[in-house]
């Protein structure tokens, strides 16, 4: 039997993963590592998690057959509608899971980083729901370009703290969140928003997000008489929406996996976030993975028009999917992504998040067959990106 593409008992995906953390984080990470599986499999946890996903988040999200898109591209295109989740993106699946965990660990204060603001909103939301204090770190640049989400976090009672260092985006917000955790090692849980960070975060987040792929299985069976599509496609920032969709298909080699990265202005322009092409093995935020870095090992400032993909690394699962060639990686420029944002709006009446828009670029880069079933993860809605779209297209 071939090796699994899922995490091993040491917290690694092939060469990638692990927990490269300073001692100041050890007690928290160790506590999580030793308890996350046990807690999240307890009956009361499972019940509360499932219940909230159903009654609060609005799951299952539909698997929608995109008729006009399918016609134009002459294959069967399905959209997994994570944009319909409460708060507008897949991020909340994870925050629901982590807040329940945090409660069971006795934590009374929550911190998180956010790029697009979706994870920040999702975290602020579950904190409001549970009546727990919440601090969100967000890069100064992202605070500007995702203003609606900043407003939402404030409405929800969270404190939004700007990160002024580096590129002032997701990476830097993550640094600040880690520093906060180091400074508050007892009462605080850090809700990481993607399948990044030290073990057990990538696995924990992937498990909470796996509901996406598991639902697709059931829904596709109903729609097409079989559980497995030919392709699963998702954009990859840190990689959590992708991991959620891919999860049940990881070791089923007949299902082709496509990861879509942000090429920014173009992979060779120096203004890009296409980690698989531009990255090398290294350590970022406590995890061994692929990341964009100088020869020296300094982390490079990434660039993408979309705040949620503007990250110089990918999760270790994805690094391994890339190195092992289990997944195909495609990168899509700002321009192509923006065009797809408009196209999906006009063809299917769905305004996607700019992150999500990237995924559809695959349709122009690859030829599919008429009988091919493609499932795209429609990871989030574009309400947060309206200003960017409107400015860009001068609408």
């Amino acid at each position: 039997m071939h090796k699994s593409y899922n995490v091993d008992s040491e917290g690694y995906y092939g060469d990638f993963g692990g927990a490269y953390i300073p001692e100041m984080m050890y007690s928290n990470i160790n506590e999580l590592k030793s308890k996350y599986l046990e807690i999240s499999s307890q009956a009361d946890f499972v019940k509360e998690f499932d219940d909230l996903l159903k009654k609060y988040v609005g799951r299952p999200t539909p698997l929608y057959f995109a008729k006009r898109l399918s016609q134009e591209y002459n294959s069967k295109i399905y959209l997994k509608r994570e944009d319909l989740c409460h708060t507008g993106a897949h991020k909340i699946n994870n925050t629901i899971g982590q807040i329940l965990l945090a409660q069971r660990l006795g934590k009374t204060r929550i911190i998180a980083e956010t790029g697009a603001g979706q994870h920040g909103v999702a975290t602020a939301t579950v904190c409001a729901l549970m009546g727990i204090k919440c601090i969100i770190y967000m890069g100064e640049v992202d605070i500007k370009r995702q203003a609606p989400n900043v407003a939402r976090m404030k409405m929800l009672g969270a404190k939004v703290k700007p990160a002024y260092s580096g590129s002032k985006t997701l990476k830097d917000a993550t640094n600040e969140a880690i520093r906060d955790w180091i400074n508050n090692p007892v009462d605080t849980h850090y809700i990481i928003g993607s399948v990044v960070g030290p073990h057990p975060y990538p696995d924990m987040v992937a498990r909470f997000q796996s509901v996406i792929g598991l639902e697709v299985k059931t829904q596709l069976l109903e729609a097409e008489g079989k559980e497995n599509p030919d392709y699963v496609v998702a954009c990859v920032g840190g990689g959590s929406n992708a991991a959620g969709l891919f999860y049940p298909y990881l070791d089923d080699l007949k299902v082709n996996i496509i990861c879509v990265e942000a090429a920014g202005m173009g992979v060779k322009t120096g203004k890009s976030a296409a980690t698989s092409i531009l990255g090398k093995e290294g350590i970022i935020h406590g995890s061994k993975t692929l990341l964009m870095q100088s020869q020296d090992g300094q982390i490079t400032e990434p660039y993408s028009i979309s705040a949620g993909l503007d990250y110089p690394g990918v999760g270790p699962m994805h690094a391994n999917l890339f190195r092992s060639k289990r997944a195909e990686f495609i990168s899509i420029t700002d321009k192509k992504a923006m065009d797809w944002g408009l196209k999906l709006s006009r063809m299917e009446g769905i305004i996607p998040a700019i992150e999500t828009s990237h995924a559809f670029g695959v349709l122009d880069k690859k030829k599919f067959m008429k009988k091919d079933i493609l499932v795209f993860n429609c990871s989030g809605r574009g309400d947060k990106d309206l200003d960017t779209y409107i400015d860009y297209f001068k609408l």
Binding site: E23, S27, N175, N184, G282, I283, I299
Partner: protein, 257 residues
Amino acid sequence: MNRINKVLKEKKDILSIYFTAGYPSIDDTTEIIKQLDHSNVDMIEIGLPFSDPLADGPTIQESSTTALKNGMNTFKLFEQLKNIRAITDIPIIIMGYFNPILQYGVDNFCEDCKKTGVDGLIIPDLPIDVYLKHYEEIFKKQNLLNMFLITPQTSNDRIRLIDKISNGFIYMVSSSSITGTVKSFGEDQKKYFKRINDLKLKSSLLIGFGISNHNNFKEAINHSQGAIIGSAFIKFITQNGIYKISNFINEIRGKII
């Protein structure tokens, strides 16, 4: 015998100073070491700047950013240290995050440490198990000590494990704060120091994080063999330049001048 072990064996009230290589100016490294030598500090920690120093407070972060802008890198640091042992005998420790070291190649890095006369390493994000599995042998081959950190949250069991595998000192993080300043140690910290001392470890303990003046230096050496000063020192050279370092050291030591 490694210089670090020698100092630990011979001295009490150790004062170890941290600074960021390449800060304030790229070529200040040797001059700062010279000044520290003249000021009779007991150990020197050179920070290899990193773009994302997530276990550091704002002062060290900013110095790292400046150093990187100045063009600092690993290769350059070893160049600057090439003749350092002609200047000083004080133990030198490089403190750096793991990624730049990994990219340089851990083997190469340790070899260049040995060549230049570096005595030890502090790599905050190199976990113990990975160190033991992959790197301990390389370090030992080059006679490099690896210093581990402990914090108020570190359990006694884990401290005993760290003590066992340590071959230099244990870096006792004074509190859970990396903000760079602590007025004075509180009850919690004193309890923590007592708890650690009661463990009767074989390794020496130096206290770091937040020590900034004579008072808390004195408090620190009451509970340990010495103290490490970083942010306060960097603030000092930011404000006063690198030629008045002895003033800072004397003040910390409480020498009236």
